[in-house]
């Protein structure tokens, strides 16, 4: 166990933006909220998954809603504190640990806003190893774990207690409820025991995000290449170095989707790449060949600063390094790919493990 303070939170936030693979939502407001909570209540204990007792009771805490709504109806500490008691009252069980549902984006840091005021430790793990857009895209789904019982609350003191037949239903109901409450809500979900957590979750991902953030920060401070540092430090593969020459962005059914076309530089001179995105970056096609797809991670970092570029913001002229990283093996199983593979997002592509590249 170790303590997560303000400085560690900053590194986790930067690393989580990278692991967001272009999506996951801007963690800025989540970071501010967690930072204020840590300033008020002190650092939060982070516990290794293996050290969680088998009979412990664990839940995910996450924000849900539209990024545009969050910018106006900014999150409040009160909901992140109250959600713990509401979940305990609905399930009738005392919660022992909180855990992030996703290692990437906004929800990688929101559990710390619940942990600081309640004194609960956070488990160093998550259910994606990255960011995905739907509730059911969590590793417990692949093991038969249930999204519900779930509690969703909003700043108007409304509480939704939900029990559904499938995790997909949970996604549909919570999405509608979040819109009804003003497109911004806080949830506790996927309750599980310690022994289930050890089978279901991806260990060490909070530390991975922190390490990633620290690597980029230290490289910047030392005026060395953050991209090289990330590649040396993480299990990443440089897929491409190049300049964005075209971005084609569409909004379909409320989702941002599109492609960014890159023209190669340095060792990739005379090559081209197309990155397909829908909220997250989902496929990388080099010289016409699909080389990496979801659920493996595809991250675009600004070449000079190592700043992760959200798919929403990528535009002509950016010089980027596109980095690929293997996802957790559970996503590569038949059921894992059904839930998170390229066809799930409507692409007529087959998944190919990134390791086959070399």
């Amino acid at each position: 166990m170790r303590m997560i303070d303000e400085a560690a939170l900053s590194d986790i936030t930067l690393g989580a933006t990278v692991l967001g693979s272009g999506g996951g939502g801007d963690p800025y407001l989540g970071w501010l909220l967690a930072r204020e909570a840590v300033r008020t209540h002190g650092p939060v204990p982070l516990v290794d998954l293996v050290d969680v007792p088998d009979d412990a009771y664990i839940v995910f805490v996450a924000g849900m809603g539209a990024p545009g709504a969050l910018l106006e109806k900014i999150p409040r500490a009160a909901e992140y504190e109250r959600i713990v008691a509401e979940m305990e009252s609905y399930t009738g069980r005392k919660i022992d640990f909180l855990c992030p549902a996703e290692a990437g984006g906004l929800n990688a840091v929101t559990p710390f806003a619940s942990a600081a005021p309640t004194g609960l430790p956070v488990v160093d793990a998550d259910a994606m190893g990255r960011a995905f857009p739907f509730l059911e895209m969590c590793t417990p789904t692949l093991h038969g774990g249930s999204t519900t019982p779930l509690v969703m609350i909003d700043e108007h003191h409304n509480t939704v207690c939900l029990s559904t037949q499938t995790n997909h239903w949970a996604e549909s109901f919570t999405r509608a409820a979040a819109v009804a409450s003003g497109a911004s809500a806080v949830m506790a979900l996927y309750p599980m025991t310690g022994s289930q957590a050890k089978q279901w979750l991806i260990p060490g991902t909070v530390t991975q995000a922190e390490q990633l953030g620290r690597t980029i920060r230290e490289a910047r401070d030392a005026h060395t290449s953050p991209v090289d540092a990330v590649l040396a430090d993480q299990n990443g593969t440089l897929l491409f170095t190049g300049k964005v020459v075209d971005v084609d962005r569409r909004t379909e059914r409320g989702w941002t989707s599109g492609t960014a076309t890159l023209s190669g530089m340095d060792t990739f001179e005379d090559h081209s790449m197309v990155v397909h995105f829908q909220n997250e970056n989902l496929a990388a096609v080099r010289d016409g060949e699909v080389i990496v797809t979801t659920p493996d991670l595809i991250m675009a970092l600004e070449l000079d600063t190592g700043e992760p570029i959200p798919a929403e913001e990528i535009r002509y002229g950016y010089r980027v390094a596109v980095i690929g990283m293997p996802c957790n093996p559970i996503w590569r199983t038949e059921n894992g790919l059904k839930l998170s593979g390229p066809r799930r997002f409507g692409y007529d592509m087959d998944f190919r493990p990134i390791e086959e590249l070399t």
């Binding site: 501010l32 545009g68 106006e72 900014i74 819109v179 020459v245 075209d246 909004t251 002509y316 002229g317």
Partner: protein, 519 residues
């Protein structure tokens, strides 16, 4: 025949120009003085003399008074902030400000129930009783300025308007800056802009008084207009209320000036200063605006400013003896003592340019000793830096003309890779020219929800009509208004939600009776 005067107050120099249409009749550079106004008077007097005391229709001024006040935390008033949201708020007003600036400005923060939802419905009823209580608390302090924000006011401004009425009733003589009038979507950033605006109001009164006084002392009775961030102008009366709109007018004016001096409306503009080059994209004669949160002296704000990339390459940029290191260090404003061509000890980008044949700067003889390998290597590196940044400033791979302006514009003619560069005559005073070229305009940025009763085209028409009427109110010629940008973006996760942004401009029409012959 009437003439326009453009004045740009920079950190180092105050430039003034007299314009006849697009033609520069006279121009002058004069040092910026500590009190700023003396420098303006000097420049104005001198340029009027050079132009033989023309009839002046209007005086356009771009000034760094306000951005400097924020950057130096000087002359800022304390501000009470009232936010209409669901109390209590955890991320209160000024939560993400640097501590010293918050210390200088924070005059108390208050949360009152109110605000709207994303679709415009009420978040909760405005708690008028609590608001009057807050007003009473503010009355007990010596705070004279209030910034007012409200959740989703860009969708529904009624709660904020009602709260403004109540605060005006309860607090006569206290200024109220409603955030909706200064910023866009994004509560914290919009509120930040409102707080900064309120903090600048006392200074704005003094500055406007000072400007009116010096222009009058110079014998000019034409109306004075101040440059805004977006390349349009506002009257001095409006500047007294909304000084925040001037904080980024410098880069805007140089880009607008580049358009005027070259007649090119779509280009990349490189403004070469002493320490940096600011590079931005000109679209239809206006700077492309930034779409991301702007860091203003450490404060995230979201009012519209030009999307400018700053490159650490200017006239004073230090070059290593072998030419392998180009900056980022610079001798800055000490260039006229430090650079070799001015008799100094330091090898700078200016020396390299002179060594490669650029004339009209310092003593060329002092540059002949620089090894040619140093010159060619450093120009290669500088060229690479420039090309990369110019490329980032562009939005597409199409070839776009590049215009160099600013005090160091001529230096870029030494850079081999920039062969098709436009360096206009009077490039050094492009800022002042841009100030005088400013038009009147307005921008509306709002969120709507489409349904059976509101189609996309109806919604666009409504927003366009509103923008046109605001532009005319700001002084745009009703016969000649035009749309600079019309943009609609569907909102993620919010079915039917659409953000619409419209910018309208037109030539500024000065009230004819105020244009008089100068004495």
């Amino acid at each position: 025949m009437t003439y326009k005067i453009g004045i740009d107050v920079g950190g180092t120099n105050t430039d003034a120009v007299v314009l006849d249409g697009r033609r520069v009749v006279a121009s002058v550079k004069s040092p910026t003085t500590q009190d700023v106004t003396t420098g303006i008077l000097n420049a104005l007097t001198s340029v009027l003399n050079d132009a033989h005391h023309p009839t002046v229709s209007s005086v356009f001024i771009g000034t760094t008074h306000f951005i400097n006040a924020i950057a130096q935390r000087r002359n800022l008033a304390r501000v009470a902030v009232v936010r209409l949201a669901t109390p209590p708020q955890s991320l209160g007003p000024m939560v993400d400000w640097p501590e010293d600036l918050r210390g200088a400005v924070n005059g108390g923060t208050y949360i009152c129930a109110g605000g709207a939802q994303f679709d415009g419905s009420l978040l909760s009823e405005l708690d008028e009783h609590s608001l009057r209580g807050i007003a009473e608390e503010i009355r007990q302090t010596d705070i004279r300025h209030v910034a007012l924000s409200s959740v989703f006011s860009p969708v529904n401004a009624d709660p904020e308007k009602r709260a403004e009425e109540i605060l005006r009733e309860e607090l006569p003589g206290v200024s109220i800056t409603p955030a909706t009038k200064v910023g866009q979507v994004g509560l914290l950033a919009r509120e930040n802009a409102a707080i900064l605006n309120a903090a600048l109001l006392d200074l704005a009164g003094e500055v406007v008084d000072g400007l009116e006084k010096v222009v009058c002392e110079a014998g000019v009775t034409a109306p004075i207009l101040l440059s805004q961030n977006d390349g349009t102008v506002m009257t001095v009366d409006r500047a007294r209320q909304f000084p925040i709109f001037t904080v980024a007018s410098g880069p805007t004016n140089s880009m607008r000036g580049a358009a005027l001096l070259t007649g090119i409306d779509n280009a990349v503009v490189v403004d070469v200063g002493g320490t940096t080059s600011d590079i931005g994209l000109l679209q239809n004669g206006f700077p492309r605006e930034s779409t991301v949160a702007l860091d203003l002296a450490g404060v995230r704000s979201n009012f519209r400013v030009p999307d400018v990339l700053s490159l650490a390459l200017g006239g004073g940029t230090r070059i290593s003896d072998d030419g392998e290191t180009v900056g980022p260090e610079s001798v800055g404003f000490r260039i006229t003592q430090e650079a070799k061509v001015f008799g100094g000890p330091s090898l700078t980008f200016t020396d390299i340019a002179v060594a490669s044949g650029v004339r009209g700067i310092g003593e060329p003889g002092a540059a002949v000793d620089i090894p040619s390998a140093t010159v060619s290597r450093s120009l290669e590196i500088a060229g690479d830096l420039l090309v990369r940044t110019i490329d980032r400033a562009k939005l597409s791979s199409r070839d776009v003309p590049v215009i160099a302006v600013g005090g160091g514009a001529s230096l870029l003619s030494a850079v081999p890779v920039l062969e098709h560069l436009n360096i206009p005559e009077n490039a050094g005073v492009a800022n002042a020219v841009g100030a005088a070229f400013a038009e009147a305009g307005a921008e509306v940025d709002t969120t709507v929800f489409l349904d059976d009763n509101l189609t996309r085209s109806d919604a666009l028409d409504q927003v366009k009509a509103e923008a046109v009427s605001l532009a005319i109110e700001a002084g745009a010629d009703p016969e000649n208004v035009r749309f600079i940008e019309v943009e609609d973006i569907p909102l993620a996760y919010l079915p039917g939600g659409m953000r619409i942004r419209v910018r309208v401009v037109g030539p500024f029409v000065a009230p004819a009776e105020t244009a008089e012959r100068t004495k």
